[in-house]
């Protein structure tokens, strides 16, 4: 009975969340340094964005390089709403979701008629336009000096600290995981899979390609926006230079490294891309302090992963298990 319960994916998601939210406790007891909260919080934020992009890249096979632009837009809007307009966090969150979503759907309507690299280029352009807007529209964004925001204030009276904001991030991550799991295992997931597998078959089965591409694109944009809002209220500042192509590429790399079409794989990928450089690489003498070493690390990792684990590093678990079983068998 217990084992069956543990196999239930929803219980697994919640357990995963519970384990993640234990981190502030570990810091409290002095087992881990407190910088880990910011680091892992960042991983969670990027994971939410990556889970959305995975829907687009993994399931429908479309490449978007506009993630950073939409994240940034959401971050600035939420900061503007809470700081300048003194709106509650919930309204800022909603605005931060809706505005990029509208931009995203408009962009999608125009650009989703094209595929592959052309779509990647189109979305990259949109992202760069948005970034340029962050620099120029200084009454809204404070230009190059960046914009600050505060930790979320829930329902107008619960002031969150860094640790409780971190728990909020975990809650959002678990919700997104459940949402994605439900969607990809239902009609939407099948339609997107069909589209990637064979456009002809998908159309013959009644899948309206443009509609489903648009849905996938909108979901990816929505999750990117959510992660942007969470970013600005957790990191508490945003600069135009944060939202570059490098960020979009990093999120893309996280999906490829961790595991396309795999929820835990995507999160693992984000951990490797966004936390491993800070956690471990910087400790390596000489190389660690080299500028751009993380990029080299990611590049090499992508090549290795594609060579040995084309479906993502998350499947390394299966191999380890097999190795274990083999050893047991011998003894």
């Amino acid at each position: 009975m217990n084992k069956k319960l543990l196999k239930n994916p929803y219980i697994q998601f919640v357990l995963f969340g519970v384990v993640l939210s234990l981190l502030p406790l570990l810091v409290l007891f002095g087992i881990l340094p407190s910088s880990y909260i910011t680091l892992i919080g960042g991983v969670i934020i990027y994971s939410i964005s990556a889970l959305g992009l995975n829907l687009l890249l993994g399931y429908s096979g479309l490449i978007s390089l506009g993630t950073a632009g939409f994240m940034g837009t959401a971050a600035y809007i939420s900061a503007y709403f809470t700081v300048n307009l003194h709106m509650p966090f919930e309204i800022a969150l909603l605005a931060g979701l809706i505005v990029p979503l509208i931009i995203g759907v408009l962009v999608g309507l125009v650009s989703l008629r094209i595929e592959g690299l052309y779509l990647a280029i189109a979305t990259l352009c949109v992202s760069e336009i948005l970034r340029k807007t962050f620099e120029e529209l200084s009454f809204l964004t404070n230009g190059f000096s960046g914009k600050t925001a505060s930790y979320p204030k829930l329902l107008g009276f619960i002031n969150l600290t860094r640790d409780t904001s971190y728990v909020l991030l975990v809650v959002f991550l678990v919700l997104v995981m459940i949402l994605i799991y439900n969607l990809v295992n239902g009609q939407l997931g099948r339609a997107l899979n069909a589209m990637r597998g064979s456009e002809a078959a998908a159309q013959a089965m009644g899948v309206f390609l443009l509609k489903y591409r648009l849905i996938a694109f909108a979901l990816a944009t929505g999750l990117a926006s959510l992660s942007g809002v969470l970013y600005v209220h957790f990191i508490r500042f945003t600069y135009p230079t944060t939202w570059t192509m490098g960020m979009s590429l990093n999120i893309l790399a996280a999906i490829i490294i961790g595991g396309v079409r795999n929820i835990y794989g995507t999160i693992l990928g984000c951990f490797i891309v966004f936390a491993v450089p800070d956690l471990f690489l910087k400790q390596i003498p000489y190389f660690g302090t080299m500028n751009g070493f993380a990029y080299i690390f990611n590049g090499v990792l992508i090549i290795l992963v594609i060579m040995f684990y084309p479906h993502g590093l998350i499947y390394i678990g299966n191999d380890i298990k097999r190795l274990f079983n083999k050893k047991k068998g011998k003894v």
């Binding site: 439900n182 099948r190 899979n193 597998g197 064979s198 002809a200 159309q203 013959a204 089965m205 009644g206």
Partner: protein
């Protein structure tokens, strides 16, 4: 509805003067034929005769340059298929298979069959995301129906295996199962026997007849395997170089001089 009078009551599909050209090549040239309810209809012709192109025109993957394609849909209304976008054709009750099996390798066989039920899902994205009771029930009902179809075709025991890596004969059956999910009026089979061995081909003929009787639908098939065509079809239309040659029962077609010439060549050809 305005087309109601155009086709007789027992006709499910009527093609009139269908033409499509790619550049200077007339792939289908002035082709006309009609299919009755509960009929197995074969479209034959030598390689490159334009059979698959004709299929693609009927299912709206290609928009023909000229001609009409009247179809009697599930609600007994007659429409011109050319007025419908490709993804709406299945809603009318017209569904097809592909020459090179088009399945999704990563999905299980059951999920592949469920793609055929895409249009039957009525619950919104919102209720799917939150797994509201209505969406859960819908998914379960259609899943049961898909299992039922797989059982009918005798491959229920493989339902949870991924489609990639299954033998070709099984994949063909999965594609057939996928077409049955929409309760079709007319199924279009593009070379259903290609890649099957002799035993499987004999079984296929039986399956085609059973499908027709059980689902009360018509079947249009393109096939090179003459034994299958002659065995299973009620009516056959022969074409060559996009042009209509003859239509008739298998016996009539076998005797037809034009058809013999198209397949075997004339004596002049040999010199």
């Amino acid at each position: 509805m305005s087309h109601q009078a155009i086709i007789a009551d027992d006709i499910v599909l009527k093609i009139e003067e269908l033409s499509i050209a790619f550049g200077g090549l007339k792939a289908v040239d002035n082709l006309s034929f009609q299919i009755r309810e509960k009929e197995v209809f074969g479209l034959i012709g030598p390689n490159g005769a334009g059979k698959t192109t004709a299929f693609n025109c009927i299912t709206q993957f290609y928009k023909p340059n000229h001609g009409k394609i009247y179809f009697r849909d599930k609600n007994n209304n007659v429409t011109n298929l050319i007025d419908h976008p490709v993804h709406e054709v299945i809603k009318l009750g017209l569904v097809r298979t592909f020459q090179n099996v088009e399945l999704i390798r990563e999905l299980s066989i059951l999920d592949n069959v469920l793609i055929g039920a895409h249009i039957d899902f009525k619950s919104s994205l919102f209720s799917q995301a939150l797994k509201l009771p209505k969406a859960v029930k819908e998914e379960k009902d259609l899943r049961d129906e898909a299992i039922e179809v797989l059982r009918f075709l005798g491959i229920e025991n493989r339902k949870d295996l991924p489609a990639g890596g299954q033998p070709y004969g099984i994949l063909k059956k999965v594609e057939l199962a996928r077409t049955l999910m929409c309760r079709p009026k007319l199924i279009i089979l593009d070379e259903p026997a290609a890649g099957l061995n002799d035993v499987e081909t004999v079984q296929l003929a039986q399956t085609i007849r059973t499908i027709r009787d059980r689902y009360n639908c018509s079947i249009l098939l393109v096939e090179h395997d003459m034994r299958l065509v002659m065995d299973v079809c009620d009516q056959i239309c022969a074409i060559s170089f996009g042009k209509f040659l003859a239509v008739g029962t298998p016996k009539e077609i076998r005797k037809n001089k034009d058809v013999q010439t198209a397949y075997l060549g004339t004596e002049d050809d040999e010199t």
